[in-house]
Structures are given as C-alpha cells and as structure tokens.
C-alpha cells in the first residue's frame, strides 16, 4: 500500500515537474548522448571492469552484474530455495535455511555490504540481510556461494542491516519492527506497543580468518522502527549511525500515524564503548533461540546449530552509549562520507537534506547541548549537530553515495532523479532523471573510505514503459550513469531480478583472481564421497538405500540399480569426478518430489528420493556436459515393498543373458 501511494505521489510529482519545466527531457532519446553505447560496450570475450553485487529483493537472492555492460553474470541463491542449483533441496544445503521457526525457504533480501579492511572493500565476503525472518547471510567470494546464515533473536524484521565497520569487526542488524523481547510474553494487546515493544540492534562479530558470524551482543532500546545505518569511518570509526522512524510509536496506520512528528532521529551508537562494556561482563544474559547455519567446504555440507543465549545491553543503563540526533521527517538513508566527518540523513518526507558533523556531535556531547531526552536517551540539539542543509534538492530524498571528488549523490524517489551536490558547500551541482522512482544508488566503493568516480547505478522501483511489455509485471530496472565529468550522463538501462535495494561494487581485479575453479577431489571429506568408480556402491540400511555414485563425462556409475523398494528412503550421493573449471554435472530422477542436483567438479551432493510406485525410473545428467551427454543416464528398478529383489548395481556389465534372461537380480556386480 505504501509503495502504491508513493507511486501515485511520484507520478503526480513527475507530471507536475514535466509540465512546469519544459527543459526536462521528455523521453530517453533526448538524454542519451552519442557515445553512450561505446562506453558500455564490452567486446565478446572481454571482461567487465567492475563486479556489481545487487540485492534480489523479494527473490531472496543476490545477483551479480558486470559493469559497465550491465550483463547478468550470476544469481547466487541465499535465502530462497533454488531448484536450478539444488539450493535448499539437496541434503547438504537444507540446513542453511533452518531457523528457530523451522525451514524458511524464502526471504526478502534488501541490503548488501562487502567486507572491508581499513575502510576499503577487500573482496572476501558479501553480507546480506533477510528482512522477513530476521537473518544475515555471508557469501564467500571465492566460490560465489552462501557460506553462512545467522538468525537474529529479539528482532521483528531485519531491515537496518548488514552495514559493516571499517575492518569488518561487526556487521549490524537493527530491527525494522519492534516487538516484545523473545523471553517476554508476546501474547499482549497490540496497542500496548509503548510499554511492551522494544527495538533491538544486534552487533554481529565476524571472524577475521573464517568469516564466521556470531551475535556478539545486542542493544535494547525504545520501540521504534530502525530503517538504515552506516558505520563511522576514519575519525568517526567506533560510532554507528542508525536512522529511525515511527518515533511516534504507532502500532496502526503508520502511513499517517508514524509521519506526525516534524523530526525523528538519527541514533548515534558508541560501539567501542559497547564492546568495552561487554568485555567488562556488563549486560544481561537473555534466553533466546536462534539458528546458526554454516557450510563446510571440505565436507560440502551445512550444519545448523540452535543457540540459546544472547547478551543484551539496555541502552538506558549505560549513559554515553547512545545519543539521538533530530532529523527531519522519517529519515531513510543514513550515509557517512569517505572522511567520516559528515553524516547525511535523508528525510524521505523532507524538502531538504540535513548533513551532520561528527566533530560538532562530539562537541555537543561534551557541552551537553541537549534538548531533553527520548525514552531516557539524551537528544542532541539539532543545530548543535548540524553542519548544514542541502536546500531544495528534490522530492523524497532516500539514499546517498559518494565519489572520489568530494561529491555526494542522493536519490530522489518522488521526483525520480539523482541529485549531485558538493559535500563541503552543500550546493546542488547537477541532476539527472531516472526511470522511474529511484530507490538505492551505488558507486563502486561509494560507502567506503575509497570511493571510485566513474560509474553510478540507480536501482529503480517502477519500470513502466522502459522495456517491451511483459504483462502486468515488468522486471525492475537499473540505470547506469557516467559520473566522471561535471555532468552525469545516462548510459544504459538493464533489468534486474526481484526488486533491487542496495548494492555494492568493486573493481574486478579485487575478486577475479581468487575465484575457485573446482574443488579438489583429494580434499573432499564428504562421508559418502566416491573417489573413483571403484568406490561407487549401493547398500541397504533398513529402509534406507544409500547410493555412492560418480559422475564423469559421460556416464553415471552405477547406472543400473536394482533392489530398491517402494517406500525406501533412497539417497543418491553423487560425486563429480571432474577436475576442471566449469564442468558441473546435474542429476535428476523421475518422480522425485524435490529438485535436481547441480554438482560442482570435485563435490559430493545428495538427493533424497522416496519412490511411491513400483516400476522403472530413469535418471540422468541435466547439465549438458559433452557430445555424449544424452547418453549420461541410467535406470533404477523399484520393486514393491517386501520384495526380495536383492540390491545390485553396475555400469557396463548388466547385459542380456540369452539363456536365462528372466532371472531376477541377474545384474552382475563390477
């Protein structure tokens, strides 16, 4: 509903602007200049200059694009099952989607943060949030696969996440929806929000070597909505800034009731102090339940562990830990410039952009330049924290990214444009239209200490007439701009998956040489690996039948299997024996209430299948692997429950016996 109303507003504003300002371009033809095609052309066989990791929104996945071409390189399954890759269907990946609620096969992936070292993107991991059932995922950029998913307790919707500190010490997760804490009775009237609901921010530690995440501690604050955040950097390293809305603490019709106050807050958190308090043993141990899911690359298998405790610091108990900075009208983006001095709060309903100064905030704290308290938290006087305001930037400012020349770029949702302004003098320098209703922006490195200055991508919410019609729904559209000159230049439109929210980008060189090409078969520690066809076998354990199978261009071993009975739990443990780049094999069996497997070279992956009817079941490789791919197949014979057909298996030897063809179980073993 909210999007709809914004959309209507947006369209109305657009119409108004177009009618008021005849200089505004009326169609794309007038804004794309002659050399745009050359600037985005990446010749066949050549590589793009940047990787662009883009949230897949309600698809739950992470997409990877090349820039400047806008070519889709990969969709990485994260929070949602992906039958194409067997993600969430193979026995090894099912635990990744486990939560305290059970298996949750979907989520809403909004924001991405790449790991940083000294404030620069280091290309090791991408973190992403699950907004619905609060989770944070870590994607390994050697394998481009999801390596870990951590659930968050005391959280009602993980939106303000997963923003990262400049040495990847912590990523944060601020709850969008406040709720009663997990150890309290949540069965209370909804209109007791003010007394029973709390807003929680999780600080998630990241192990320097393995990348493993844990909930280090949580801050418990007033019941408000945490929207977005960014860590301080450089001089402001040690602080974290969160935008808040619904400081009215409404629990119904937020569209109206959470938009009443003239100002909400940017919440400034001294996380170094929080870290010190935790080291001193402060905080309350709270009983909770949350899942920690990790994928082990040596066994090619994920494990889900339910954890039971978290340490909580109640903000009001620790003066100096948190301050509130008034920020006009439901701030959305909360962005820190490359120097760490300027904090930009984008009040999405405001007609200006306030820019706060870290030095002034520190001085205001020292001088106690406060304007009362909010739920026991000191509120710094607006003017005491303010560096200045960008006047009349446009309508509906949402998000700000930075370039390498001291400029900021803010998306304007309602007026559908990107506005470039100078961080020092706060003067608007340029504006370009987007098509339409832009949300997030991304400049490679644009929220780090070292932004680039060549490209900006706008991720739009409404596509409308930009592509050939495809029924009522169209792919969301992204737009690439050249920002190397004084004036921004539109270069390219490209479609995205789901709804893109935040994105990150980095020079290809930071990542491409570290990419895994295959898994070494010698290092495969999967309990059911078959290292060579001699180790392929089939055996029965009660009603379970295990099949250790090898895949190699272009046959399955074994490819004739008999002795399976109706109702058996059959496990195909398939090992791809290939040791070369880009030679996955697929595996599927008729009637499986499941998906295919896609098995990387050197990997072992398992498909579970419970045959429900006696008969003959073909199985085959699904990923075209060689000229004899169509031959890469086999049969499983399924006999009725209680049948005495013995287990047998073979490849290449189970040929007709003319003298005694009808004998059951005649298949010779290898």
């Amino acid at each position: 509903m909210k999007i709809n109303s914004k959309y209507v507003q947006g369209m109305a504003a657009l119409a108004l602007l177009a009618s008021m300002n005849a200089c505004k371009p009326k169609d794309a033809g007038s804004v794309v200049s002659g050399d745009a095609a050359a600037k985005v052309y990446v010749a066949p066989g050549k590589y793009d200059e940047y990787y662009n990791f883009v949230s897949g929104g309600f698809s739950g996945q992470l997409s990877v694009y090349g820039l400047p071409s806008g070519r889709l390189l990969r969709v990485i399954p994260v929070f949602s099952v992906d039958p194409e890759k067997g993600w969430g269907y193979s026995e090894e990946t099912k635990p990744m989607l486990n939560t305290s609620h059970g298996n949750v096969p979907w989520d809403d992936l909004h924001h991405v943060s790449m790991s940083q070292t000294n404030g620069e993107i280091d290309g090791r991991w991408v973190f992403a949030n699950g907004n619905n059932t609060p989770r944070v995922a870590r994607i390994d950029l050697k394998t481009f696969r999801t390596a870990e998913i951590l659930e968050l307790p005391n959280s009602g919707g993980n939106h303000s996440s997963p923003f990262i500190t400049e040495n990847s010490e912590y990523i944060v997760a601020g709850t969008r929806f406040s709720i009663p804490p997990d150890d309290k009775n949540g069965d209370v009237p909804i209109n007791t929000y003010k007394e029973n609901f709390k807003g929680t921010i999780s600080f998630i530690s990241v192990d320097k070597t393995s990348g493993n995440m844990d909930v280090a501690f949580q801050l418990q604050g007033p019941g408000v909505n945490f929207d977005l955040s960014h860590a301080g950097k450089g001089k402001s390293n040690g602080w974290f800034f969160f935008s808040t809305y619904n400081t009215e603490q409404a629990n119904t019709l937020l569209e109206v009731n959470a938009s009443k106050r003239d100002k909400d807050f940017i919440m400034a958190v001294n996380w170094k102090m929080a870290e010190k308090l935790i080291k001193e043993g402060k905080g309350r141990k709270q009983a909770v339940k949350y899942a920690s899911n990790r994928f082990d690359e040596s066994t090619h298998t994920a494990t889900s562990t339910i954890k039971n405790q978290v340490t909580v610091l109640d903000i009001r108990d620790f003066p100096g830990l948190v301050y509130m900075i008034p920020c006009p009208k439901s701030p959305h983006g909360c962005d820190v410039d490359p120097t760490g001095e300027y904090i930009v709060g984008s009040g999405k309903l405001a007609a200006l952009i306030p820019v706060f100064s870290f030095d002034k905030i520190q001085k205001a704290i020292a001088d106690k330049a406060f304007d009362g308290e909010y739920d026991g938290i000191p509120v710094i006087k607006y003017e005491a924290a303010l560096y200045g305001e960008v006047k009349k930037p446009g309508l509906g400012p949402l998000h700000t990214e930075f370039d390498d020349k001291g400029n900021a770029y803010t998306s304007m949702f309602v007026s559908s444009e990107v506005v470039k302004w100078n961080v020092k003098d706060l003067k608007v320098l340029d504006r370009v239209p987007t098509y339409y209703s832009v949300g997030h922006l991304m400049i490679p490195g644009g929220d780090s200490k070292k932004p680039t200055g060549k490209y900006l991508v706008a991720y739009n919410k409404i596509t409308k007439d930009r592509y050939l019609p495809t029924g009522p729904e169209l792919s969301q559209s992204a737009q690439l701009y050249d920002i190397s000159g004084d004036k921004m230049q539109l270069l390219l439109d490209f479609p995205t998956i789901g709804e893109p929210h935040y994105a990150q980008g980095v020079a290809a060189d930071v990542i491409k040489n570290n990419s895994t090409k295959f898994f070494k078969i010698e290092e495969n520690k999967h309990p059911y690996v078959a290292k060579g066809e001699k180790e392929a076998k089939v055996w029965r354990e009660g009603n379970k039948v295990h099949i250790n199978m090898t895949l190699m261009r272009s046959h399955l071993t074994p490819d004739n299997i008999e002795g399976v009975r109706v109702g058996d739990e059959v496990y195909f443990h398939t090992t791809n024996l290939e040791q070369d780049w880009d030679v996955p094999h697929g595996f599927a069996v008729k009637g499986a209430l499941n998906a295919e497997l896609l098995v990387m070279p050197g990997e072992t992956t398992t498909l579970k299948w419970i045959p429900l009817k006696a008969g003959m079941y073909p199985m085959y490789c699904t990923d075209f692997c060689s000229a004899l791919h169509q031959e890469m197949s086999g049969y499983v014979r399924v006999s009725p429950a209680g049948s005495n057909v013995p287990i047998s298996f073979s490849t290449g030897t189970n040929t007709p016996k003319p003298d005694n063809a009808a004998v059951q179980g005649a298949a010779a073993k290898k």
């Binding site: 078969i521 190699m552 060689s626």
Partner: protein
Amino acid sequence: MKKLLSLSIITLIIVAAASCGGSSDSEKTTEATTESTASTDSGNPSYDPHRGEGKFTSVDLSPTLDVAKAELGNQVSQVKCSSCHKLTDEKLVGPGWAGVTTRRKPEWIMNFITNTDVMIDKDPEVQAQLELCLVRMPNQNLSDEDARNLLEFMRQNDGVK
C-alpha cells in the same frame, strides 16, 4: 577397433621415424609454453608432435620400474582416469592404456595429461582420436608428481618390471 588399430600402427611408425631423427630434447628449455595460441594447422612448425606441448621437455626413465611410484599412479588413476580408460586396449570413453608407453614418448604423455586442452587443439594425432571418441579429454588438474606417477603406472601396465 580396426580404425584404432591402424591409428596405433601409424603412430608407431611416426614414433619410430622420430627416434631415427634423433632427440631434440637438449635444445628445449623447461619453460612452459601453454600460453601460445591454439592452432589446428598440423603443419604448425612450432608444435613438436613427439614431445607435445607443455612444461615437460625430458623425462628420465629408469629401465626398471619404480614400484612405489607406480602404486601412487594407480591410486591417482582410480580417482581421476579409470572412469574413462581401461587398462586393456579396449576403448571405453577414451582409448585403453595398453601399449601407450610404447606408442608415445614419456614427455608427450606427461604433457598431454597436464596440458590437455592445448594439446587437443594442436596435436594431429589427438585430433584424429577426438574424431573417434567425441569427448574431449578433461583436464583433471594433475600435479607434476601425479603425472609422473601415472606414467610409471602406465609403464607397469605395459610390462616394465
């Protein structure tokens, strides 16, 4: 089978002819040349059909078998080779291994199993083989040591004691 046999004969002739011409091993450097561009021209003067192309220029073979190496080679072959190659002269996915160490120089074998893609694109014999098998031999990413052990295992298979 007939085709395969005749191919082997041709190969033997070529190998024999080459050995008459003397070895050119001493002229070669040990530098890998895997970066050079692929050429299907069998008359490509930069390609040595006896040595193949890759990092191995000369392999010292003892007249007797190194049993330990051969056993290690056997283990590697179980994991990475035996899905497609039998130890007899029977073709499975690729040709059987029987007699390979008499048909090919040791350098050629070691280069082919470690620099597979380049040699499939350049070696006329391999290209002829591809027309029969229709499956490009995969690069199984063998270490140098694996490759040497495999060679020893192939020698054992061919009767070296």
